[in-house]
């Protein structure tokens, strides 16, 4: 079998195993979560009898291992169970929110990543120049600023002072694309700043490190222009590290944007999860957690495969082409 195919298959298998392990952790985590859906739902009117009745209704009285297996088998069939709070299938609940989050993450990815790569390359191209130093300070400051501050400042500037954009992202498909874009603009700007700053920094650092290597000096001595040195000789060797940073940031966009969704009252998956935790709506919490982990595993897997694809040592495995043997 071709070594990189074998590598890909092995990584797929490892990814599946990780997800299985995660499912166990998620389930156990939810089990030991203090509080109880019946207690929360019934509030002060809870009596031991009514709680027991509700438990029975949700099947919570049965042993945990059995429930875990049922849940796992359900997932494999695409059945995420029933939300305990709203009595709606989790899949349906998740579906709406996932579309919103995917839209936000997708729009941010499209804006932020080309911007970040271009900025990082430009900084590397002019490493040490005034532009590079100024950009480095700005980018470092931005990547160190928490997104709630950036989000709040963006709201103050664009919504309160300039009155250009709505402060609350009301995602409605009825209002047409223009309205949708307007409501997405502020969250996308906020997220793009955070994500782009980090990717640009990493891109610059990776490329600048590579520029110290002897083969870059060799290219200079062959008369290769600096732009080609960076765009061909350095970039091809930087794909692996950069792909990983990009993947981590996209994964963050899918799962970690609770703060941004909260600031802009954006109806995404992260908000859904926070609400579900408060309501002890465990099937929803579990589904969200699994979804986030799935996104991480898939994105990191994609980044690793990309890194292998651009590294001939890894791509060709330890065996050179047949002519050597």
């Amino acid at each position: 079998m071709h070594p990189s195919l074998r590598f890909a298959l092995r990584r797929f298998a490892v990814g599946a195993l990780i997800l299985l392990a995660v499912s166990l952790l998620v389930f156990v985590g939810c089990e030991i979560l203090p509080g109880d859906v019946a207690q929360v739902a019934l509030g002060q009117f809870a009596t031991p009898e009514s709680i027991r009745a509700l438990h029975q209704q949700f099947g919570l009285d049965r042993p945990a291992p059995l429930r875990y297996l049922e849940w796992l088998i359900g997932i494999l069939h695409g059945d995420w169970g029933m939300s305990m709070g709203t009595k709606v299938p989790v899949a349906q609940l998740l579906g709406e929110r996932l579309a919103n989050t995917a839209m936000l993450a997708g729009a941010t990815t499209i804006v932020a990543i080309p911007l970040a790569l271009a900025l990082g390359l430009l900084m590397a191209l002019r490493a040490g120049s005034r532009f590079d130093r100024a950009a480095s300070v700005v980018v470092l400051a931005l990547s160190a600023t928490p997104e709630f501050l950036i989000g709040t400042l963006a709201v103050m500037l664009f919504s309160v002072h300039l009155n250009w954009l709505p402060a609350v992202a009301q995602v409605t498909f009825g209002g047409g694309w223009a309205a949708l874009a307007r409501s997405l603009l502020l969250p996308v700007i906020t997220l793009s700043i955070v994500v782009a700053a980090q990717i640009a920094r990493m891109t610059r650092a990776t490329i600048v490190n590579l520029l110290d290597l002897p083969f870059i000096e060799m290219a200079t001595l062959k008369g290769v222009p600096r732009r080609r040195i960076i765009l061909v000789h350095a970039l091809i060797n930087a794909v692996g590290p950069i792909a990983n940073v990009v993947a981590l940031n996209i994964a963050y966009l899918v799962s970690g944007i609770v703060v941004v969704e909260t600031i802009f009252a954006f109806p995404g998956v992260a908000r859904l999860m926070v609400d579900a935790v408060q309501a002890r709506d465990l099937p929803v919490v579990q589904a969200c957690a699994m979804l986030f982990c799935f996104a991480y595993v898939v994105l990191i897997l994609a980044a690793d495969l990309l890194a292998v694809l651009f590294n001939p040592r890894l791509r060709r495995g330890i065996h050179p082409d047949g002519s050597a043997g």
Partner: protein, 577 residues
């Protein structure tokens, strides 16, 4: 020759650190005419690489030209802008770097890199450049010239890669080729081939050569004239004949003496008193097989065998040398003994007791008693730690000195490797290559070992520095009663130091014996090939050696062993790396 206008003319060039400080190149003038090869010779720190790079109008970051002039043909390189320099580099003047492995982009195919000058200078269509590259591959004796360029750098051997570098330097028919130690990283047998190929190609045209080296014997084969450099200043210059026959300066004589350490017509190291002969073996290697890749289910052998049923013994106060080319398995064997690379079969015994294959399973005391020193002195030292801390860690780890006594012990160890006690306060970056290797030795000695494995510890050092390290190892052996396993591809070093020699080829031990006897009367054709490949300090040696090699190679066929085929070696190198 002198009548023609020089291709390269450097006039009173001064290059110094941009931040200020002593010049690296201090007022040197030189000229190279078409068809002439000028050699710059000196140790590291002599400024020879800086001078060589200046010939392409390039100064490394951190350095700056203070004064002087550099002219390539009619072009003033110091006055030329970046665009103009870009235009002439890779076309009119080219550079062949010392380490081909580091100088090729690991992610691009060799063809693409060799033909890149044509691409960036828009000199000719790519197909034409490619055809030209293949012609050069053929002339440089690369196997499968039509296809080999499709490989990536890690898929060919070090010797082949160096030839690709030469092809890259010559492809556009430059007026000047600058070679910076183009063969220093190669095995002796490969070096002969590369030198021969290089000489043939450069002699054909009107190309001028600026050849940088620390090895006079190599330079003697190629250069018309020699300039001896020391600490940035010119010591002596003259024709190759004159420098070799009648050196004027003491420093030049010292360099020549360092080169003549070993003369095959004189006996090698005098046979030492057989005091150690009676002693039982301290270290025994019993039929060790090791390699890379998964094990074959039937035989239990690894897919690629790097060491094949090797056996040897080292007694206290004895130096046993392992010689062989890269890919012969000698470094893998060192790692097996140190427990860094568990063997697939066989046993390592210390004073008769078997050691666990993996170092993690050995007891602290067993680990303490076997120490290893590596080739790359600087990568083996943490650049952020001071020397005292580096050595102190080994003392603490093996519990060899209570905290209060540590500073005194560190000073003792530094004294043992002939470094002043004040070096404890220095960081590796403030040390020279030879000093770093002394620190590595001191760290190994901190463990108070019984067995010291030296894996090519002098290969990255200048001749004179390497000779000093060898004397140090000799001294340590006598004073501490160490059993030393000295791995090297440098026969001259081995000849002066080792009591016994083991020759390895492709994982197998092909010949062994007392040093003097083995070097004087080698029986295995491969040993003879190795011996015939060590450059000698006289003009015309290269041609003789090439002839001798041609005569020896058929013997391989007769003994059933294939000649040292680079095709195979490429593969082994790829694994070893």
């Amino acid at each position: 020759m002198q009548a023609a206008a020089p291709i390269l003319a450097i006039d009173r060039l001064v290059v110094a650190p941009a931040a200020g400080g002593a010049p690296v190149v201090d007022g040197i003038s030189l000229a190279v005419s078409p068809g002439e090869v000028l050699a710059l010779i000196g140790e590291s720190g002599s400024g020879k690489t800086t001078l060589a790079l200046a010939a392409l109008g390039y100064v490394r970051p951190g350095l700056a030209v203070r004064s002087g002039r550099i002219r390539l043909g009619a072009t003033d390189l110091l006055g030329a802008g970046e665009a103009k320099l870009q235009d002439l580099r890779g076309r009119r003047a080219t550079y062949i770097a010392q380490s081909a492995a580091a100088s090729f982009n690991p992610a691009l195919r060799l063809d693409a890199q060799v033909t890149e000058p044509a691409r960036v200078h828009r000199l000719r269509p790519l197909a034409e450049a490619l055809a030209k590259a293949r012609l050069l591959y053929r002339r440089l004796d690369l196997p499968e010239p039509e296809r080999i360029g499709q490989r990536f750098p890690h898929e060919v051997s070090g010797g082949q890669l160096q030839r690709f570098m030469i092809a890259m330097g010559l492809i556009e028919g430059p007026q000047l080729v600058v070679c910076d130690e183009p063969t220093s990283a190669l095995d002796v047998t490969t070096q002969v081939e590369v030198l021969k190929a290089f000489k043939a190609v450069i002699r054909d045209g009107s190309t001028a050569g600026l050849f940088v080296s620390h090895d006079l014997a190599v330079v003697a084969q190629l250069a018309d004239r020699i300039i001896v450099l020391r600490r940035g200043a010119l010591v002596e210059q003259g024709t190759t004949e004159a420098i070799l026959a009648a050196p004027q300066e003491p420093y030049t004589r010292e360099l020549i003496a360092a080169c003549r350490r070993w003369d095959r017509r004189r006996p090698a190291s005098p046979p030492r008193v057989a005091a150690c002969a009676a002693a039982p073996a301290r270290l025994e290697v019993v039929d060790v097989t090791a390699g890379f890749g998964p094990r074959e289910p039937m035989t239990g052998r690894p897919t690629i065998t790097a060491v094949d049923a090797a056996a040897l013994a080292v007694r206290p106060r004895e130096v046993v040398a392992i010689i062989g080319e890269s890919g012969s398995g000698k470094s893998t064997l060192a790692q097996v003994i140190a427990g860094l690379h568990p063997a697939a079969a066989g046993e390592i015994r210390l004073d008769g007791a078997a050691l666990a294959p993996a170092v993690a399973r050995r007891s602290l005391d067993q680990r303490r008693r076997v120490q290893i020193v590596f080739q790359m002195a600087d990568t083996a030292l943490n650049p952020r730690h001071r020397v005292g801390r580096i050595i102190g860690r080994a003392l603490a780890f093996f519990g060899r000195a209570p905290r209060a006594r540590r500073p005194a012990r560190i000073a003792e160890l530094l004294a043992l490797v002939r470094l002043p006690a004040s070096y404890a306060e220095r960081r590796p970056g403030e040390l020279s290559g030879g000093e770093k290797q002394r620190v590595n030795l001191a760290r190994a000695l901190a463990a108070e070992p019984d067995v010291l494995i030296c894996d090519e510890i002098t290969s990255a050092l200048d001749t004179v520095v390497a000779a000093a390290i060898v004397r140090l190892v000799e001294d340590l052996r006598d004073r501490l009663g160490l059993a030393v396993l000295f791995i090297s591809h440098d026969l001259a070093t081995v000849a002066t130091l080792a009591d016994r020699v083991v020759v390895m080829r492709r994982g197998k031990i092909v010949e062994r014996g007392p040093t003097g006897e083995l070097l004087a009367r080698p029986t295995h054709p491969y040993t003879r090939l190795l011996l015939a490949s060590v450059p000698e300090l006289r003009i015309g040696w290269l041609e003789e050696a090439a002839g001798r090699r041609a005569a020896l190679l058929p013997e391989f066929a007769e003994t059933g062993a294939a000649p040292v085929a680079d095709v195979d070696r490429g593969r082994e190198d790829a694994h070893a790396g």
